[in-house]
């Protein structure tokens, strides 16, 4: 039956630091002076004005020896070489695809950086260019790795491994990129029955674990069979867990999601 719940808004209480921190975090807003000492090198999020080091973003100051940088809490994704990202195709251009990855500029995926179906290695011909749309269309989701970063900040992606490629059925959750912890691997097969890809750009993809790992697919064939109900419940529960973690600004990595999932098991999926 229909369940409609309404509630009165509650002012969010400022959550005090739960774990004792070694030192107080130095929080700054754009325009705040960090230090007037000229001995420091300036890093991301800072600029020098009249011998003073001033912050250009709102966040916490991090200091490593003589390098001072400001790490912003909510920002667009800044690409680093080797990051795993999940992106959505926005345009199909002549020899490349434009991918939206929640960064300041759209990322590019060159045709030469893309795996051909079957895993063959050959020069891309003119026919491949004309058939680009058969591989990836506007709106498709892909998982890729950052190959290089252009001088203007745009990111160039590649899918030159069989674990990357077009994504099939599943759920996408968009969070802030600063909440995804940098780890060794971002593809996780959770024991509860679903798999998760934690993109560094804040796009998190939850999908049912494929039963057999077929090597030749290369990420192009998407299974169009309906997903069983038990898997769907797991995926919905994971999605709600991630959304709950985001509202409390917790860092997202596989164990945090797993703990949250186990804690939510006694409750209903909603």
């Amino acid at each position: 039956m229909a369940a409609i719940t309404m509630r009165l808004p509650v002012a969010r209480k400022a959550v005090g630091p739960s774990a004792p921190r070694g030192s107080e975090k130095h929080l700054v807003a754009p325009g705040d002076t960090i230090t007037t000492d000229t001995g420091y090198m300036r890093g991301h999020g800072t600029y020098v004005d009249e011998e003073k080091l001033i912050a250009s973003v709102a966040g916490a100051v991090e200091r490593v020896n003589k390098l001072v940088c400001v790490k912003a809490l909510k920002t667009r994704y800044n690409g680093e070489v080797g990051d795993i990202v999940v992106g959505r195709i926005t345009e199909v251009q002549q020899k490349r695809w434009k991918v939206e990855t929640n960064s300041r500029l759209d990322s590019v995926l060159l045709l030469s950086s893309m795996n051909l179906p079957g895993g063959e290695l050959r020069r891309r011909s003119a026919e491949d260019e004309l058939a680009m749309r058969d591989y990836l269309q506007e709106g498709d989701l892909i998982s890729a790795e950052v190959q290089s970063v252009f001088s203007d900040g745009a990111v160039s992606l590649h899918t030159r491994s069989l674990k990357y490629g077009k994504l099939g059925q599943g759920v996408l959750v968009q969070v802030s990129p600063s909440l995804v912890k940098r780890q060794k691997t971002h593809f996780h097969d959770l024991p509860c029955g679903a798999s998760v890809i934690l993109g560094n750009n804040g796009f998190i993809w939850i999908y049912p674990t494929p039963e057999q790992k077929d090597e030749e697919a290369g990420g192009f064939t998407t299974s169009l069979e309906p997903v069983p109900l038990s898997d769907r419940e797991v995926i919905s529960r994971l999605r709600n867990c991630i959304v709950a973690l985001v509202t409390q600004t917790f860092m997202l990595f596989d164990t945090s999601i797993l703990y949250c999932y186990e804690a939510s098991l006694p409750h209903q999926v909603q």
């Binding site: 409609i4 719940t5 309404m6 808004p9 926005t90 506007e138 709106g139 599943g170 309906p226 999926v269």
Partner: protein, 291 residues
Amino acid sequence: MASVVLSEAEKLYVVHGVQEDLRVDGRGCEDYRCAEVETDVVSNTSGSARVKLGHTDILVGVKAEMGTPKLEKPDEGYLEFFVDCSANATPEFEGRGGEELGTEIANTLYRVFSSESSVDLKSLCINPREHCWVLYVDVLLLECGGNLFDAISIAVKAALFNTRIPKVRVLEDEEGSKEIELSDDPYDCIRLNVVDVPCIITLSKIGYRHVVDATLQEEACSLASLLISVTSKGALTSMKKVGKGSLDPESIFEMMETGKRVGKSLHVALQKILDEEESLGTSRQKVGFLG
């Protein structure tokens, strides 16, 4: 309307989920997202309300002004609706982009409230043919997260519930000209009876079933939707079909039945929360926009 682009596989996932009565966020086909309702958020209006339904954020303000009644209804007041799609909601609404959607929503609201019994317009009359109260209802879209019409109608009902119209006395002068005197006491006011105010329920058709309270992703997967306005007693006041797909007459009947059921429980829940807020009185901690 703001929309997201989804891949074919994602759309397929959503459609299959709806058919098994388990949507992406775990809800059933007839479940609403949890709504946050707060009234009296804007101080210089006669009544206001703010409703947050998931990612959709609506602010409604009601101002009561003196005006002349319409010629064909000389002993009634009337309501005027204006909808503003703020550019904050989505970049598509920048400049004049939101005007089309705004006029569409305003016209829908006029139709919904066109029924005789929804608001007691005769109580808004002061002097027949000369003076009456005109309620200007202004709707502001702060954030667009799917299911705009439902959230707007809930906010309008809450704002009308919260509206306080000052009492007036008409004094007759010696020459025959009438003078209107507003009472100075801020607590001396009349409240509107919103028991019969209808709420809009949007039913979106996805695959072979229909869902209530669709998110942006689900709206991208549905081709046709039915907007019905239901009063708390289950009576339908208006119906409108949106979308470029077609609807089977049988599915329209099913959707109407679902809409009536969901509408009744929506009214019950809304009235409960409004009464709860009212009972807190002045000790209520106002959250407003900075909470």
